[in-house]
Symmetry: C2
Subunit: 486 residues, 2 copies
C-alpha cells in the first residue's frame, strides 16, 4: 500500500479500511446511526453527509489521519462540540468528506497554577476546563452559553467571544500557545508559552479564528487568572441608547479594571422575556426605553466594597441625568436573576415568531448611532418588521435581530424576505465600517456574504494564504474563505 | 511605457527616472550623500547599497511606487527610524534595491480621546506620538530607548517591546487597526478599530512583526490609555535570582493591575554602571547578589497611596525572607535615578570590552533556572568569558550578554569566538523551548540562526506564506524568512 496509484484505484472503500485500521474501533465508524447526530448543526439549519466519523485519540493519530486524507484526496471537516453558530462544522451534501471529531482528545495535559496556565487537548469542554481552573483556585476568563458542549479547539478555531470580552478579550487573548496539524499532516507545535517571541510571522495568530481551514487545532496553552473575590451587578434604566454609551464611558473610567460586562437591553426585549418567563420580574418598577446590565468583578476586596464603588459611579451618573433609575443586586441570586433576563432574550424572541439574527459589530463609539440609523432604515424598507438590538455595547457588538411582520410563515419568511433583510443589514454594517460577523464566525452561513461584501484585497490575501497552506483544498472546504469570482 | 518588455529593456536608469517622476524632488534621490546616512544601521554593524532613496508622502504614493518596483523587479527595503537592532532596514551590498523611507509620512491623522485611539501615519516618531497622547490627557503605553527615532511603522513591523510589556503587552497589543501596501501595490485597509471581528484570517496579526517582508505598513490605529496618576518605584536587594522570581509572583499578586515593570540587575552590572557613571550612587548601602527594579503605575489614587501598597507588599516579602533590603523612591527624581542605573547597563558593559549580546526569552517561570544553568555552561565552554543576564524578568526576557575574556581584541573577538559563543547561547535557548529573538526581531542578523534552529514546520509555513504574498520576492529580501535548504 505504498504507491499513490494503487490507492486511487481502490477509492473510498480502501480509504475507509485504512482509516479504520489506523484509528481502531473507537476511532472510526461509518455506521449511519453513529454519524447521524453530528451531520446536522445544533440549530438544525445545516445538514450534510460524510464517509465516516473519525475520532482520533491523539495528535499523532490526527497527523496520520490527515496524511491518509491527503493521499486519497479526502476532505476533512473538523468538529468540536458541534455547537457553532455558522455551520462551520457541518459537512456539505456531497458525502465526500470525513468528519473529524476532536471530542476523544479531552485531557488537560498540564495545569500550572503558579505560572497561571494550562495545556489542554482540543476536545476539552469549556465547562470542564472552568471547573479544573476553579479547583486550582483560578479562573478561565471566557464563557458563553454553549459552555457545556463547546470545546477548546472549537473556541479557538472560531475565536469565540462571550460575555467577558470587554475586560478579558476574545479567545485570541487567552491563547498562549497552540498545537495544530497542518494540511500535509505535519504537526505545528507552538505550545510553549513565551511572553515575548519575535521569531517571524505569528502563525499562532493566523490559525486562531481560521475555522479549521488552515490547520486542525489539536491542543493549546491557555492563560488562567486569579479567581474573582468580589462581584457587583447592576440593572439600570435609561432614556436612550446614547445615554447608555455615556454611562459606559463613565463606569469604565470609575471602575477601571473591574468592569467586565456592559450589556444593553431595549424595553421590547425585556417585555418579551417577562412574557416568556412567568416567574421573572422586572428589576425596576418604572418602564425605561433602554436597560443596561453592568457587571464588575474584582480579584481583591469584597462584594460590599465593590458594590459601593459601583453605586457611587451610578449615583454620579444619575446626578448628571445619564440614567433614570438603577438597582444593584444585593446578593448572588439577584445578580443571577438579572443575567437570566439577559440570557433569555433569544429564546423569548423566538417565541414571537420568525426573525433574522445578525451578530454584528461597528466601532464601539458608533454603535448607538448605528442602531438609531439602521433600525428605522430596515423597518421602513420592510414594512411590518421590527428591529431589536441587544447585547455587548461595551464591545461595539450587538445582536441585531429583525422580527418578521405579523402573520409571516415560519420557515418560509426566513428563506424569502428574511434573506433580503439580512443582505440589507449586512450592507448597512459594511457601510458603517463594521463586521458582518463579530463573534460567531463565517462558517458556511456567511461565506457568500463575505464574498459579496468583504474587502477584495483582504479576500485576495485570504485565498492566497489558504492556497499556500492547503493546496489540495482539503481542510474544511466551503467554509470561511469565499471562492474567487471567475 | 505599458509593455513589460519595454521596461526591462531600459533597465535601472529608466526605473529611477520613473520613480523620480512619480515622487518628485522631495520624494526621490539617487545622490550618494543623501543616501549615505541610511545605508548603515545605527550601530554600524550592517551596511549596504541602494539604487535610490524613496520618500513617498502618502499611502497612494507608496502604492504607486510598489507597483513600479513590481514592474521592474526592483527589491524594496522599507525603513522607519533606522534604529532597529537586527539590521532589518539595511539593504544588502548588491545595490539592486531601493530604500523606502516612511519618514515623510508623519501625520497623526486623527486622535479621538473619548474613544481612546489614534490613527497615525507609519512615519510618526514614537516620542512625538507620546507627546500628542499626553496633550490629550492620555498615554500610549509602549516606550523604549530609541523613542526619539523609532517610528510607529517600524515598531509595528518588528512587534517592538520595551519596559512596559509586563502590563501592557508588546506593540501587537497596541494595534487596533492597520493599513499596509502589499507586494502588488494593493492597499490593505483595516484601519477601522473593531473590538470584535471574525471575518476570516486575522491578516493584521500576520503583518505585525513581519518586518516588511509581507507588506509595507503605512498607517495604524493605536490604542490610548488614561494618563497615569500615581507612580511607585522600588529598588530591591536580593540573595538570588530564584528569590527574584518569588518576589515577582508576590508583588504581582499584591499589586495586580498596577505592576508595570520588574527588571533584574545582577551585582556585576550595577558595579559596571557605578564605575561608568561617576555621579551615580547605589540605591542600597549593602551589596546584594541581585537587584530588582519594580515599577507600579496607577490611573487613580495618588503616589503616597501606591507607595504604601508597594511598601506593604515588600515588607511582607522581607518577613518571609524573599528580599534582603529595599528602598522606595521618595520622589520622581529618585525614581528616574533608579531607571538611569538600569538603562545604563548596556553602555557600561560596552566600556568593559567586547561582548556578545543576546535578546532571548524562555517561559517566564523557567528564566531563573535558565540563567543558573546557561551562565556556567557558557563560561566553562569558553574560558575567561563572563555571562551577565539582566532585564525583563517579568516577561521571561533577559539580555543575556557574554563578555569577552580579558585581552580579547575588539572587532576580532566578535567575528571569531564571539560567533561560537552566540551559537552556543542560541542552542541552549532553543533546548529550553525559548526564543532566539524575544523583542529585537530577526532582520539579517539572526536569519541564519533562525534557519538553523527554527522549527522546520514553522519555517515551511513562513516560506509558503511569503511565497504566496510576495511571489517576486521583492519585499525586504534576505530578512526574517530563512531561505530553504536545498
Amino acid at each position: 500500500m505504498t504507491a499513490l496509484e494503487t490507492d486511487i484505484g481502490t477509492g473510498t472503500n480502501h480509504f475507509a479500511e485504512l482509516a479504520a485500521d489506523l484509528l481502531g474501533p473507537k476511532g472510526w465508524t461509518a455506521i449511519a446511526d453513529d454519524l447521524e447526530p453530528w451531520l446536522t448543526d445544533w440549530r438544525g439549519r445545516y445538514s450534510g453527509k460524510a464517509i465516516g466519523l473519525a475520532s482520533p485519540a491523539s495528535t499523532q493519530e490526527v497527523s496520520a489521519l490527515v496524511k491518509l486524507c491527503a493521499r486519497f484526496n479526502v476532505p476533512i471537516v473538523p468538529q468540536g462540540g458541534n455547537s457553532g453558530m455558522a455551520g462551520g462544522a457541518t459537512p456539505d451534501a456531497s458525502g465526500s468528506a470525513i468528519l473529524l471529531s476532536l471530542r476523544r482528545m479531552n485531557t488537560i495535559r498540564e495545569l500550572d497554577a503558579t505560572a497561571g496556565l494550562a495545556v489542554c487537548d482540543a476536545g476539552v469542554i469549556l465547562q470542564t476546563f472552568h471547573e479544573a481552573a476553579e479547583d486550582a483556585g483560578l479562573r478561565f476568563p471566557l464563557t458563553l452559553g454553549g459552555k457545556g458542549s463547546a470545546t477548546i479547539g472549537g473556541l479557538i478555531s472560531t475565536n469565540a467571544g462571550g460575555t467577558q470580552v470587554l475586560r478579558h478579550g476574545t479567545m485570541r487573548a487567552q491563547v498562549l500557545g497552540l498545537e495544530a496539524v497542518l494540511a500535509d499532516g505535519s504537526v505545528f507545535d507552538a505550545l510553549t508559552a513565551l511572553k515575548k517571541d519575535n521569531r517571524g510571522f505569528d502563525l499562532k495568530q493566523l490559525l486562531i479564528g481560521s475555522e479549521g481551514t488552515l490547520g486542525i487545532v489539536t491542543g493549546a496553552t491557555l492563560r488562567l487568572l486569579p479567581a474573582p473575590k468580589a462581584r457587583a451587578t447592576a440593572w439600570v434604566g435609561l432614556k436612550s441608547i446614547l445615554d447608555a454609551r455615556a454611562l459606559l464611558r463613565r463606569v469604565d473610567r470609575a471602575l477601571g479594571d473591574t468592569l467586565e460586562g456592559f450589556e444593553v437591553v431595549p424595553d421590547h426585549c425585556l417585555d418579551s422575556v417577562l412574557a416568556h418567563l412567568p416567574a421573572a420580574r422586572s428589576p425596576l418598577n418604572e418602564r425605561h426605553a433602554w436597560h443596561a446590565l453592568i457587571e464588575c468583578v474584582g480579584v481583591d476586596g469584597d462584594d460590599t466594597e465593590l458594590r459601593e464603588k459601583l453605586e457611587g459611579a451610578l449615583a454620579d451618573a444619575a446626578e448628571d441625568g445619564l440614567l433614570s433609575d438603577a438597582v444593584i443586586a444585593s446578593n448572588e441570586r439577584q445578580a443571577d436573576d438579572f443575567w437570566t433576563l439577559r440570557d433569555s432574550i433569544s429564546a423569548a424572541e423566538r417565541a414571537l415568531g420568525p426573525a433574522m439574527q445578525h451578530d454584528i459589530s461597528v466601532p464601539v463609539e458608533k454603535m448607538p448611532e448605528f442602531i438609531l440609523a439602521a433600525s428605522p432604515a430596515v423597518e421602513k424598507e420592510f414594512p411590518g418588521t421590527r428591529a431589536v438590538a441587544f447585547g455587548h455595547l461595551g464591545d461595539g457588538n450587538v445582536h441585531f435581530h429583525i422580527l418578521a411582520p405579523k402573520g409571516a410563515v415560519p420557515g418560509e419568511w426566513e428563506e424569502g424576505q428574511g434573506k433580503q433583510v439580512s443582505a440589507r443589514v449586512y450592507d448597512l454594517v459594511t457601510q458603517w465600517g463594521g463586521s458582518i460577523s463579530a463573534e460567531h464566525g463565517i462558517g458556511q452561513m456567511k461565506v457568500g456574504e463575505l464574498g459579496r461584501l468583504g474587502d477584495p484585497v483582504a479576500l485576495a490575501i485570504m485565498r492566497a494564504v489558504k492556497q499556500a497552506l492547503d493546496p489540495q483544498g482539503l481542510l474544511n472546504p466551503g467554509k470561511l474563505v469565499p471562492m474567487a469570482v471567475e
